[in-house]
Symmetry: C2
Subunit: 86 residues, 2 copies
């Protein structure tokens, strides 16, 4: 089995005007899609809440993303248990 | 149909030492679960990368959460199309 560290990729991206180097095993196309989404969400939230500073924008973007993740996870589990019943 | 705004709830939470008021239609138990997860992720990331400032921690936590969401979403769609084939 190959050492998983061998597969780590570094992708440099810009989010809300700051540079980040994302390190991981993800496909760079996936990373770019994710980064575009986070950047758009932060800009959209700033438009709606101009008084929020960058840290608060980022924290609230994280909260929204985790909230959507947990809802989708519960839905996926529920679908799985339904399909097992059939 | 009830006005959806009627159902909006305000939950005050603490994330990484700052207070936030989360407004939405989510169950407060869901909000608390999400907030606990974001707070833990930020603390864990700080432990691994002590040089990161709070904004960067929050942005990278958002990136991770969106990445997991998009992977789960693709998996759920793929499972759905497989179950339709059967």
């Amino acid at each position: 089995m190959a050492n998983q560290n061998d597969k780590k990729q570094r992708t440099t991206v810009s989010i809300y005007g700051q540079q980040y180097t994302i390190v991981g095993q993800e496909d760079p196309a996936h990373v770019k899609e994710v980064v575009r989404y986070v950047d758009e969400q932060m800009r959209e939230m700033k438009r709606k809440n101009p008084y929020l500073d960058t840290t608060r924008l980022a924290v609230l973007t994280a909260v929204n993303a985790v909230s959507e993740y947990k809802k989708l996870e519960k839905q996926a589990r529920s679908n799985e248990s339904h399909s097992k019943e059939n």
